[in-house]
């Protein structure tokens, strides 16, 4: 809960100062992808639904749109848990890239149905693609830090025993 809230607040306050190619990083997607990759489809779907709903409540717009999109993202990314090596640092990066592109496509499609008409090609080229590259870089970095921390914790436990 606190992690998602912190990510949302960072996106609203700190991350606009670190725009790249005109877009901010989507920390929620980065965290969700790593979480779903580690926990699997059911956990990923639940986390996606929860953080999406939190985002919808914060944005106060198209309530449920992000909950739906992120739930689908969490579920689909979570399916990769069984057939991707967890030691592969690049895996979360690639998954985040694909997840961001998929989320962008879903967002444009569902919001189009809901009345938010954003030009498709411009949306994909100027928002989704730069965001996917930015997010996937952060995912690789974040997952490396996570793995480093996990290895350190494991060593510490062994030494303690």
């Amino acid at each position: 809960m606190l992690l998602w809230l912190a990510a949302l607040i960072l996106e609203a306050t700190l991350l606009p100062a670190f725009k790249m190619a005109g877009v901010k990083a989507d920390l929620l997607t980065v965290f969700l992808t790593i979480f779903a990759f580690l926990k699997g489809a059911p956990g990923g779907a639940a986390a996606g639904f929860f953080c999406g709903l939190l985002e919808d409540l914060y944005l106060a717009k198209f309530l449920g749109l992000n909950a739906l999109i992120r739930m689908a993202t969490g579920y689909l990314v979570g399916l990769s848990k069984d057939w991707l090596n967890r030691d592969n640092i690049l895996a979360p990066g690639i998954l985040t890239f694909v997840a961001t592109v998929g989320q962008g496509f879903l967002f444009l499609f569902i919001s189009y149905l809901a009345g938010f008409k954003y030009p498709w090609l411009a949306g994909m080229l100027t928002v989704v693609l730069p965001m996917a590259l930015y997010n996937s870089s952060l995912a690789v970095l974040g997952y490396s830090i996570y793995q480093g921390g996990a290895a350190w914790g494991s060593r510490k436990r062994k030494t303690g025993n």
Binding site: I9, E11, A12, L15, G22, E55, L59, Y118, P119, T126
Partner: protein, 304 residues
């Protein structure tokens, strides 16, 4: 030599020595032109040794003082470091105040110039929209400060957007960069009207769409609000045309506009809470201002 003579010899030598020393003493008591050879030789011979010993003593004294004062110097050093850190922090804070002062002075100048046209409230920007799809920001003032939905938000540089949602302590401002933040604009110099909205392909830029192909729209022309639509007063600065592009249908064209406001660096903004009676249009060449017409965002309480 007999024993008696030997006994007298010693006192005699001592007396002679004493007398000699007395005369030597008398001779050397006065200031002399030069030292004797023996005195000079002795002094010259001892000089390097004295020099070396004095140097060592001085150095050792310094080192001893360092060792003796080490703990005091350490504490002093620590205190000075803390003082430097505190001064550095204070300096950064002062720089912040200086910059805030400049920004507020700029806003104040703008409000002074427009005091007959509008009532303003200065509001701080506290957050931005976390999503990349929407362009909005959150102000740290709400209905408690007199802010209402559809009030226009500006800076001294131009239009920022309009309030779309408001709580007692916050207000959400939809930026003119947003796809849903479209407003009426016109080229200032020749009054060519058009709809101004956020450009989807030129991110961070505005675009004026549906301009007739033969309309006299060129680069570097200034774009201002047209007042059409009833929310934005006429004559507020929007930006400058940087590019003209033909529309795919071939009949119309669009102008890419660089906004006058840097939306990524907004810290304080002005909310127009009331449009006063009889304002003159800020755009030269227009005689009939829209002044006085209360737009949806005008504060009813303020107009009483």
């Amino acid at each position: 030599m007999g024993p008696l003579r030997r006994k007298l010899m010693i006192p005699l030598i001592l007396v002679l020595a004493a007398v000699s020393l007395y005369f030597v003493m008398r001779w050397t008591a006065l200031e002399r032109e030069r030292l004797s050879v023996i005195e000079g030789a002795l002094r010259d011979a001892l000089a390097p040794v004295e020099k070396g010993i004095t140097l060592v003593v001085n150095k050792a004294g310094g080192w001893l003082a360092v060792i003796k004062n080490y703990s005091r110097l350490q504490a002093e050093n620590q205190a000075l470091k803390e003082e430097v850190a505190a001064l550095r922090t204070a300096n950064i804070q002062l720089e912040e105040y200086r910059q805030e002062n400049l920004r507020l002075r700029e806003l104040l100048n703008f409000t002074e110039v427009n005091r007959n046209a509008y009532d303003f409230v200065v509001a701080p920007v506290i957050a931005r929209n976390p999503s990349n799809w929407y362009q909005s920001l959150t102000l740290g003032l709400g209905t408690a400060a007199g802010l209402q939905k559809d009030q226009v938000v500006v800076t001294s540089r131009g239009v920022v957007g309009r309030i779309t949602a408001v709580t007692p302590r916050t207000a959400e401002v939809l930026l003119i960069l947003d796809r849903e933040g479209a407003l009426g604009g016109m080229i200032q110099v020749n009054r060519t009207p058009g709809i101004v909205e956020g450009s989807p392909d030129y991110r961070g830029y505005l675009q004026m769409i549906h301009i007739a192909r033969d309309a006299p729209v060129m680069e570097n022309q200034v774009v201002v609000t047209s007042g059409l639509g009833g929310i934005y007063p006429r004559g507020l600065f929007l930006g400058t045309v940087v590019k003209i592009l033909p529309e795919p249908d071939g009949l119309m064209k669009r102008a890419i506009i660089e906004p006058s406001v840097d939306f990524d660096r907004l810290e304080e903004v002005l909310v127009i809470t009331r449009v006063k009676e009889g304002i003159a249009d800020a755009v030269p060449g227009v005689d009939a201002p829209l002044a006085g017409s209360p737009y949806p965002g005008s504060n009813p309480a303020a107009s009483l």
